[in-house]
Assembly symmetry: C2
Homo-oligomer: 342 residues x 2
């Protein structure tokens, strides 16, 4: 076992694709075993304005970021979403080519895809939502294809809790792991449904202010205990540029965010983090607390790429070497020697 900080990292690390380097990294794992992954999330258009520039129409949505991110690690991904006839077929095809099954993506030919528009403030930590056009997302009530109902891991992107519940109820058996993202909005308008879905999931992902709102506790340690009592036995609290915490019982793990020179566009960073997390768990077929720690580092590394360009663009061009290099930066970032402490 190699742990964070081991000086022998680079030489001992397993490079599973080393004999077939001519293949793209997401293909070279095609024949490896991994857990199947069901992903539920929006597929949309975004208009984004940051201090660095703007785009009027770019592909986005939690499901898009989740799938692009997870497909770096596994190629048995079942996508559940809804798009309008305006959604580019090429975008669906690009994901299919990465091993993302599109049978569960409903295409409403005469409808328009979900549209979100936002403007980031100078500090890039806060943003104003300018437009939210639900469009076809307003009628999202997915029926899972039969082949989806045995998936090992279910990743519920941030959506109306009633849809999250419906998806879980359609599974043939209890998945090995259910991971769920949500947001403060649902705490305000659908708390009863949210509480119900919380009883059905294993891992909840929220940011720090959402954890405080959900629990009524300012201390994140106390908030984590209260939220675990609501259902999820694992809680990931995302703190943006300040990293992420994983709580499980009284255990806690902290992963830093990489200090970045520039954050170009934070849109989708949270979903990208989630996609890397579940992608890693699926690939390694290991849903232990110890492996979740590694999954959080993987997710953080993917998120650090996501913010380098507008939309999911940076995620679509990543190489295995880039991912490995970024993960090594995380190892170096927290590596310290304790032989001489006291």
């Amino acid at each position: 076992m190699i742990s964070a900080g081991s000086g022998s990292l680079k030489t001992n690390k397993k490079l599973q694709c080393s004999l077939i380097v001519e293949l793209p990294h997401y293909l070279c794992r095609k024949f490896l075993n991994h857990m199947s992954l069901l992903v539920v999330g929006s597929m949309a258009f975004d208009a984004i304005e940051t201090p660095f520039g703007k785009v009027d129409k770019i592909v986005g949505g939690s499901g898009v970021y989740l799938a692009w991110s997870a497909s770096n690690f596994c190629n048995d991904i079942k996508q559940v979403s809804i798009v309008g006839g305006d959604f580019p077929q090429q975008e669906l095809d690009s994901l299919s080519a990465r091993g993302v099954d599109m049978e569960g993506v409903e295409i409403v030919k005469d409808g328009k895809s979900f549209f979100w528009s936002g403007r980031y403030h100078l500090d890039m930590n806060t943003r104003d939502t300018l437009v939210t056009d639900l469009n076809v997302l307003a009628q999202f009530n997915p029926t899972l294809p039969d082949s989806y109902r045995d998936c090992d891991i279910v990743m519920l992107g941030n959506l109306v809790p009633a849809v999250q519940i419906s998806v879980l109820k359609q599974m043939r058996k209890r998945p090995k792991l259910v991971v769920m993202d949500t947001m403060n909005f649902w705490m305000e308008v659908a708390m009863d449904d949210l509480k119900e879905v919380l009883t059905m999931v294993d891992v909840l992902m929220v940011n720090d202010s959402e954890a405080r709102q959900l629990s009524g506790e300012h201390s994140l340690v106390k908030a984590a205990l209260k939220i675990q009592a609501m259902g999820p036995k694992y809680l990931i609290i995302k703190k943006g540029e300040h990293g992420a915490l994983l709580f499980h019982g009284k255990n806690v793990f902290f992963a830093p965010a990489l200090p970045l020179e520039d954050v170009f566009d934070p849109t989708g960073a949270g979903d990208t983090f989630a996609g890397g997390f579940v992608g890693h768990l699926a690939r390694t077929q290991d849903i232990s607390f110890e492996n979740m720690k590694t999954g959080i580092i993987v997710g953080s590394a993917l998120a650090s790429f996501c913010v380098e360009k507008f939309g999911p663009n940076r995620l679509q061009e990543l190489t295995k070497e880039e991912i490995d290099g970024r993960i090594n930066e995380f190892v170096e970032l927290v590596n310290f020697d304790i032989i001489n402490v006291s």
Copy 2:
């Protein structure tokens, strides 16, 4: 070398005091070599109000926290400060008993000690200053005792930059390491002096908003490069509950803060962090970047004790076992396995 995350931590760790456990831990190192440490800072009275309670008069000041914290690790500390006739002799004696030389502490018999009063907000991250009575601190213009002028490490607590410069100019030779704390107030009223002292120091400690103010850069990575160009080759950015960053050239190290169930009183946490940092460097006689990383973990551990009680009370009762246990919590907090990453 044992690194953060090694499973063999507990069995391999060097316990230097294991044969003389009947002695207090700060005495059992009496005969070990270490670097001498000069500490400059205020010794004062504080009145503190937090959501958990209040105290009308408790010993405080940066010099008090620095000395209590550092004296857990070395007993050749030269204190430079000024107090009024009202400062309790017993407080000075307690520090003397820990190896803190009080010759450099001026006692103005008919003067009053510096007094600060503050009230913390509910989130404990922000506070209002209610009273600042400089009293004898207004006339602080220290003359270093001769025996102080060869110290290896100088720790300049947060003070008017002109005093920091004066202390450094009185050293017989350039110390091996100069560490400096400062705050936004001096950037506003004494920027020229502050810039001068920056050219004379090796390590600067500021919080994130101060780093941004000093550099004019929002990105902490860019801020760190600009500040290093002003003089200090090492920059520690304290982020409170979000941990601390150490920059040196293009290298960066991140240390988390321990997630705490309750923060009782944050007063002095920054000075306690600094005291643990320099105390560790002095004890180990190692001022390398690698050892500074460990120093930051040690400082973070001490700071996590500081906030558990009002004032410096918790620092005055710490055992070696408690410190070791807390440092192990930091190791566990960031420990992850990377064998299976990608």
